[in-house]
């Protein structure tokens, strides 16, 4: 069955109509994660870019509320004007990634190391479920315990539990100054040992990345008057001065990583893991361009070969992956995470499988 014409709602009511009118739907924000937003099997494409705009922003409240189709770049620019930022550091700003798409994919970036990922900053959500019902969960204040935590559920929901229309986030003051240290080690074991030592120490990093084979990239942030002393302590902790980046070049370095272009043009995959899995994984990933973020909790890699191979490989390692770009029957690869809780909740939100 061929794909039908894409829809482009500009209001929540139109989203609801679309859900009721079409048997199968796939939402798309900026299209930066094509494996998640390309319609298949007769799905009608729902372009969410028409639901955009910041609804509320009070810097003194640390809260921003925006429609789901708002580009991340727009939100980030607004926050920057007030010295604030999105602490979960989502990727694909320049590629037009939207808030909704980022939440649906559950994507964070290197700076998640400091304060947390998407799930740690989402406060409230408005969505349209699989029956076209408009539902709100959470709220607009940084602390709220009323009702089920639907906002967290939506993180990583891939548009399959509901179509996001409005989101509220907690935001933080951006670090006043930053600097980056790149440290090369002779072997992976030593790099990992240092990674562990850093992660268990009181040293507060905005990024703790591992670039295979054995290079750590660390970012410090905070008040500029304290940075030199902290940098010196970090260097002596590491036992070597490393290669320092500062100023505009430092900012540009991290901005350059935001589009994950440094991983090349292969299929782009996110893997969730912990640092202790890295040695085994490193032995089997071959030349695939990759970077481990957040003390080894997050891996982005590019896969040149067939995704079935990566799927089998991840299964053998006991890990799960999410295909962001590339062709796969299902974007979720690796071990099967299906379980009864998931099935029942999904059935409650989308009984007819319109969004599946």
């Amino acid at each position: 069955m061929s794909e039908t014409q894409p829809l482009r709602p500009t209001s929540v009511a139109e989203v609801q109509e679309a859900v009721r009118a079409y048997p199968r739907l796939r939402a798309r924000g900026g299209g930066s994660k094509p494996a998640l937003s390309t319609p298949q099997n007769g799905q009608t494409l729902l372009e969410m870019g028409g639901l955009r705009g910041v609804v509320e922003y009070d810097p003194s409240e640390y809260v921003v509320v925006a429609r789901a189709g708002t580009p991340l770049a727009e939100v980030a620019a607004l926050l920057a004007q007030h010295g604030q930022y999105l602490p979960f550091d989502p990727p694909f700003l320049a590629q037009g990634a939207t808030l909704g798409g980022t939440v649906a994919a559950g994507l964070s970036g290197p700076m998640r190391q400091r304060y947390g990922g998407v799930r740690d900053f989402i406060l409230g959500v408005e969505l349209v479920d699989g029956e076209g019902r408009r539902i709100r969960g959470g709220g607009k204040v940084v602390k709220n315990a009323a009702g089920f935590d639907l906002p967290k559920l939506m993180v990583g929901s891939l548009g399959r539990l509901g179509l996001l229309v409005e989101l509220a986030f907690k935001v933080f003051p951006a670090p006043k100054a930053t600097c980056t240290l790149e440290v090369a080690f002779p072997r992976l074991e030593e790099a990992l040992e240092t990674l562990y030592r850093l992660a268990g120490s009181p040293i507060e990093l905005y990024a703790l990345d591992l670039v295979p084979p054995a290079t750590l990239v660390l970012r410090l942030g905070g008040l500029s008057e304290a940075l030199p002393a902290r940098l010196e302590r970090l260097q002596s902790f590491l036992g070597q001065p490393g290669q320092l980046r500062e100023g505009e070049a430092e900012v540009a370095y991290w901005q350059g990583l935001n589009d994950l272009g440094h991983l090349g043009a292969g299929a782009l995959v996110k893997v969730a893991l912990t640092a202790r899995r890295i040695p085994a994984l490193e032995r089997v990933l071959g030349p695939a361009p990759r970077r481990y973020l957040c003390a080894g909790n997050l891996l982005y890699l590019a896969w040149e070969g067939k995704l079935e191979e990566l799927d089998a490989l991840l299964k053998a390692q006991g890990l799960s992956g999410l295909v962001l770009r590339g062709t796969a029957p299902q974007p979720q690869i690796g071990i099967d995470l299906a379980q009864v809780f998931a099935r029942k909740v999904a059935a409650a939100l989308d009984p007819q499988g319109r969004l599946a």
Partner: protein, 480 residues
Amino acid sequence: MNPALSELQGLFPPGRLLTRPGELAPYASDALTAFRAQPLAVVLPESHEEVVEAVRWCVRHRIPYVARGSGTSLSGGSLPVEGGLVIGLNRMNRLLRLDPKERLAVVEPGFINLQVSQAAAPYGLYYAPDPSSQPVSTIGGNLAFNSGGAHCLKYGMTSNHVLAARVVLPDGQTVVLGSESLENTGPDWLGLFVGSEGLLGIVTEITLRLLPKPEAYHTVLAAYDALEKAGQAVAAVVASGLLPGAMEIMDALAIEAAEAAVQAGYPREARALLIVELEGEAPQVEAEARYLEEVIRQSGAYEVRVAQSQEERLKIWRGRKAAFSAVGRLSPDYLVQDGVVPRSKLGQALAEIENLSARYGLRVANVFHAGDGNLHPLILYNGRVAGELERAEALAGEILQLCVRLGGSITGEHGVGMEKKAYMPSMFTPEDLEAMQRIRQALDPLELANRGKMFPGDHPPHRPPSGPHPLEKAGVIARE
């Protein structure tokens, strides 16, 4: 003994199946003493399998159940269902594994919150969520209510520190939600479960995230002659771009109670005390402290103290942490509320609460997490004076209404439980509530798990009749 109970006898030995009146009475309520309900029986499992058996028994006989940790819930979360089963998890209280290298701890649900940090301390690690009940409350209970504490603004609540949980679902099936990784590749099922107040299942094993202990703390106690000044000081701290680990305010009544309880040495005549705590790497904290000093100086505090040692720091906190229970010295009864307002509205909220207190003729002590706008007004009353409980509840209702009106929430961290279910419609539309009910019913079609909690409807058990609620009278809500 009825056949259902005899069957339960086959599953639990006599010391761990409680049925006698003297055994059941103490389980009839938790820290919210305005509510009581007599359970049919209490079981005290010691293993995951026993929890499964208990739940399956409930399903077989269609008997509702409530899981219970230390019973410190302030919203009636561990209040039994009248005639239902109480599944007490406090005997499942072991630390199963502490992995300092991977920075995680695996515990049973009855393990006490504070004990996690105590176990992690030798490795320079700690468990961040610190509700004031932490010496008593269990991890299982913390998880059910997504417990907060004073250090939430910077590092989040329980949900941000739980990595994985093994759950017994209301139908007796077992699932594992989450993983050791901080990241997910699919929906955050565990995130939905945490804070679901016992309605979606019982945890039997929890993996917690441990953080490195901050290198340095800088704890400041500032005394003000007016509550609004303290509120404004908080706004100024935030506006300066600082992100403190904690910011707490106590008003005059709360100060009086706390001093009586723990003799923390607070400035006695203060109308408000502000505690601001910076934490982090020493050079950063030192630099931040200079900014903080300036902000506090300009805020009009008449006395400022900086903790010079760990002991002094703990002393400053001791009073704050004992404040709730300490008001028991000022009044035979109290109701503690847990509203949230946007931080910029804090001053306004406090002024209005003061007016309400005068209007209702009841004292209100205020303690709150100023950093995230989470208020805890403690309404003092004497239940033996006719009508006072009802007035206290009416006042509580008005305060919650106020919070919602100012754009906040009816509960920041204590959860809805029994106490606030009537207010859910003021925060959520009927469609929102239906959606949550659908999720609940998908997992628990018989509504056995914590029946009667969180969602409006059903009269609370054994409450003295108090007439229609003010919101009902105003036609804002209807109790079905």
